[in-house]
């Protein structure tokens, strides 16, 4: 992936040399032309087309923003209730993520979404303990949300 980014930058610079104009606009034009060339010949390089990773990262960010808004709204609904009748709880989330980077990212994303907080990673690194603000009715739903996060992270790292 890094080699392809480097190649793309080199192509952008060669484009600027050819056009003899050193403006950011020409750099971006060269970058786009180089990206198109790498896309056309993507099967010919040894590693997968790197821009798919960029798209996956963008997707992860968008999913995070969506979850942030949705869970903020639900937390606001909880705290504005006249009676504190919701039930907090801790649950374990088994995860398939392997590397330290992936688990850290998942735990951070869970903590950053209001209503849930990651407490601890099990010593084996395959279970995450999560505190939820309102558990009884949302265990399944939260697990589903973690699946969306987990899936998006897998698309980025694998």
């Amino acid at each position: 992936m890094a080699v392809q980014v480097l190649l793309n930058f080199t192509l952008a610079f060669i484009w600027m040399f050819l056009n003899q104009s050193w403006t950011p606009v020409d750099f971006v034009m060269g970058y786009i032309v180089g990206l198109a060339l790498i896309f056309v010949l993507r099967r010919f390089l040894l590693t997968p087309f790197y821009f798919q990773k960029v798209i996956a990262i963008t997707k992860l960010i968008l999913i995070f923003i969506r979850e942030l808004i949705l869970s903020s709204v639900s937390v606001i609904k909880l705290i504005l209730r006249p009676k504190m009748d919701f039930r907090p709880g801790i649950f374990a989330l088994p995860t398939d993520l392997k590397s330290d980077w992936e688990i850290t990212l998942l735990a951070s994303l869970i903590s950053l979404t209001p209503g849930t907080l990651s407490l601890e990673v099990s010593p084996e690194g395959n279970v995450l303990y999560i505190h939820a603000m309102d558990l009884p009715d949302t265990t399944e739903a939260i697990n589903q949300i973690k699946d969306t996060f987990e899936k998006a992270i897998k698309e980025v790292t694998r």
Partner: protein, 141 residues
């Protein structure tokens, strides 16, 4: 005799991108500087031929699943339709015009319809050269 083409293939993997970039530069330079659709198309063809030399036809068919005969037809279609497009403005066949536009990001840009005609030339040249070379190359008899 089986030889190891590792040097040729590794060099080709980067050099072909630079040649293709140069061919695209030549294509767009054609209006005010030496260059244009014909030389750009030939340069693209040269880059593709380099790929075909470094790898074999079967690998390249997987890498670039393009029918070059269709590419020729598409190029001719674009060329003819830019000519026919002039009828929409009540001017003779193949009349071309240009203008200055303020595009977002790019700023003041000169856009000419001749570039579309050149695109047709480009595709036709790439298609024809590749068809000729591949037809000769695939002949096993």
């Amino acid at each position: 005799m089986k030889t190891n083409d590792v040097i040729l293939q590794t060099v080709t993997r980067t050099v072909s991108f630079i040649i293709l970039l140069f061919s695209i530069y030549l294509f767009f330079a054609g209006h005010h500087n030496p260059g244009g659709g014909f030389i750009g198309g030939l340069m693209t063809g040269a880059a593709l031929v380099l790929l075909y030399i470094a790898y074999d036809i079967k690998t390249m068919a997987k890498v670039l699943p393009i029918d070059f005969k269709n590419m020729t037809a598409l190029g001719l279609l674009i060329g003819v339709s830019t000519g026919l497009g002039s009828f929409l403005f009540n001017v003779p066949f193949l009349s071309h015009s240009f203008g200055y536009f303020y595009l977002p990001f790019l700023g003041k840009t000169e856009l000419a319809t001749a570039v579309l005609f050149d695109l047709g030339v480009y595709l036709t040249v790439v298609g024809v050269t590749m068809t000729i070379i591949l037809t000769i190359g695939e002949d096993n008899e």
